[in-house]
């Protein structure tokens, strides 16, 4: 992959970060911190890694599928889908407003292209991804199923039910990623309920675990490409992805305080001054 390609992806990520802060500012609610932290991952996924079509069809046969388990970072997903052509970027202005397809947390109820299941109540996405992956195996469809979870979400028991199932059933068409930003609503994850050695936990559950830096575009692309080479070997793959909550906006970075708070007018201007408008604001 050329340096030009990386630069192009970075430009897309910058626009998506602008979209995110503008979306949460417009409705004065939503979750900017985790959304900003994962922008590079989403861009890498939708503009480089996934085999997918923006002419959305629910079944996704012959395509790679993506599921967002930590649904509260919907702003980054919606902005990515819009910028990837699933729907008009202008619709991002309706986020969290009445009669919008862009619900606070992702839903299929309003038929927004790109969304295959509702999420928001944590811990459920990995199970759903495994179901989709199991069906792909049954259909002899050799594409992958990707899923993103939060690190705080690892406190949910269902995640570990699913982790056990995946390894036991050799679900090697699944590539899960954990957004390992170390923050949750009430504070740092290690102060709220310590995950201790998360890598060792997943390895002991029978997963192939890779480490990555989710805020370095070149590295996250390489990590996801490497993850695909590790698939098909009898084990599910976990990408333990370090990110910084709020990445790209200095005053939001590294703190749980911007998990679920919207910027005011002044804060929005400060944020936008740090994020280059590359494609054009919606």
């Amino acid at each position: 992959m050329s340096q030009n390609d990386i630069e192009s992806l970075k430009k897309t990520a910058s626009q998506i970060r602008r979209d995110i802060v503008r979306m949460v500012h417009a409705c004065q609610s939503g979750h900017p911190g985790g959304s900003l932290g994962c922008a590079d991952f989403f861009v890498a996924l939708y503009f480089r890694i996934l085999k997918h079509s923006n002419k959305f069809n629910m079944s996704g046969s012959g395509e790679d599928l993506f599921f967002l388990s930590n649904g509260h970072i919907s702003p980054v997903w919606y902005a990515t889908l819009a910028r990837a052509g699933y729907f008009e970027p202008s619709e991002l202005a309706t986020f969290r407003k009445l009669n919008s397809r862009l619900q606070g947390h992702p839903a299929t109820h309003e038929h927004l292209p790109g969304i295959r299941i509702a999420s928001g109540s944590l811990g459920q996405g990995l199970s759903v991804a495994l179901g989709a992956a199991q069906a792909k195996k049954l259909d002899k469809d050799d594409r992958f199923v990707f899923v993103l979870m939060g690190d705080g979400e690892q406190q949910e028991g269902q995640v570990w039910e699913a982790a056990m199932y995946a390894a036991h059933n050799k679900m090697d068409n699944v590539i899960a990623t954990i957004d390992y930003n170390g923050q949750q609503i009430d504070g740092p994850v290690n102060k709220i309920l310590n995950l201790l050695d998360l890598k060792a936990k997943w390895e002991s559950f029978g997963w192939e675990v890779i480490d990555s830096n989710g805020n370095d575009m070149s590295e996250i692309v390489k990590a996801l490409e490497y993850a695909k080479t590790q698939a098909g070997k009898g084990k599910p793959v976990l990408n333990l992805m370090k990110t910084e909550m709020g990445y790209g906006v200095d005053y939001m970075m590294g703190s749980h305080k911007w998990h679920g708070v919207a910027p005011n007018d002044e804060e929005l201007s400060k944020a936008l001054a740090q994020l280059e408008e590359t494609i054009g604001d919606y």
């Binding site: 109820h109 759903v128 495994l130």
Partner: protein, 317 residues
Amino acid sequence: MTKLTFTEKKDTRSGFGAGLHELGKKNSKVVALCADLTGSMKMDAFKKDFPDRFYQVGIAEANMMGLAAGMTISGKVPFTGTFANFSTGRVYDQIRQSIAYSGKNVKICASHAGLTLGEDGATHQILEDIGMMRMLPGMTVIVPCDHEQTKAATLALGDHEGPAYLRFGRPSWPIFTTGRPFVIGKADKLIEGKDVTIFACGHLVWNAVEAEALLAAKGISVELINIHTIKPLDVEAILASVEKTRCVVTCEEHQQNGGLGDAVAQVLARFNPTPQEMVAVNDSFGESGTPTQLLKKYGLGPENIVEAVEKVLKRKK
């Protein structure tokens, strides 16, 4: 109408197992998931003949619901199997978000519902599941009354689109619906009468059949309607019968709160206020015992239905 009799008893869960096996033959999109209760759920035949489409998930019901939801995305028709308690209360949020709100075509099949589970006691005797499931928008709720109807309901679900809850049980129970048509959402009038209407579901339909014989001997003419589909409710059939009899008894192996009785009362309150008595569990948990002992102790036997009818007849205007 011919008198209702039975020659054979079988458990309703075996009706589910037989229906699921037949569906497996008919429809290659049908898959089955089970949380470590293959034998109890009578899913062995499906497992044996369609091993590629049978998923053993272990004792992990939350994951099972998520897996099933995920499988629907490419068009599979998943049937989940575990006890009613673990099919509903334990996984309510998974059903709510990943299945009901997401509009996924998952068939949640639940055995060992109600008091007739017997000796295992209250931890397993769920009496709140109908209420929980019928509150979910878009959820179809079916409570068949015998082996044949459970089989028919399972087969009907194979062609039905959308989330559904199928509730059945463990005890050996009279078979009396052989040859009767089964249509989701369409009540089945078993006995025509004029003095009182009994609406019943599940195992208590047979108790109502026995009660009707006792009442007929006293000169009381009972109309008995099997409401196998609690949601969507056959409002038309309910109102048509009540128009004639002007008093109602509902019978179910469930709490008074949230079940068939509640559903019927809601219809009557809105469209035709009518005296109603409820044969159901009165805000209580169950306990260990034989099915017959428990139905008697908790007021769900044929004699309790007779009492309820006599009571409601006195209230009739």
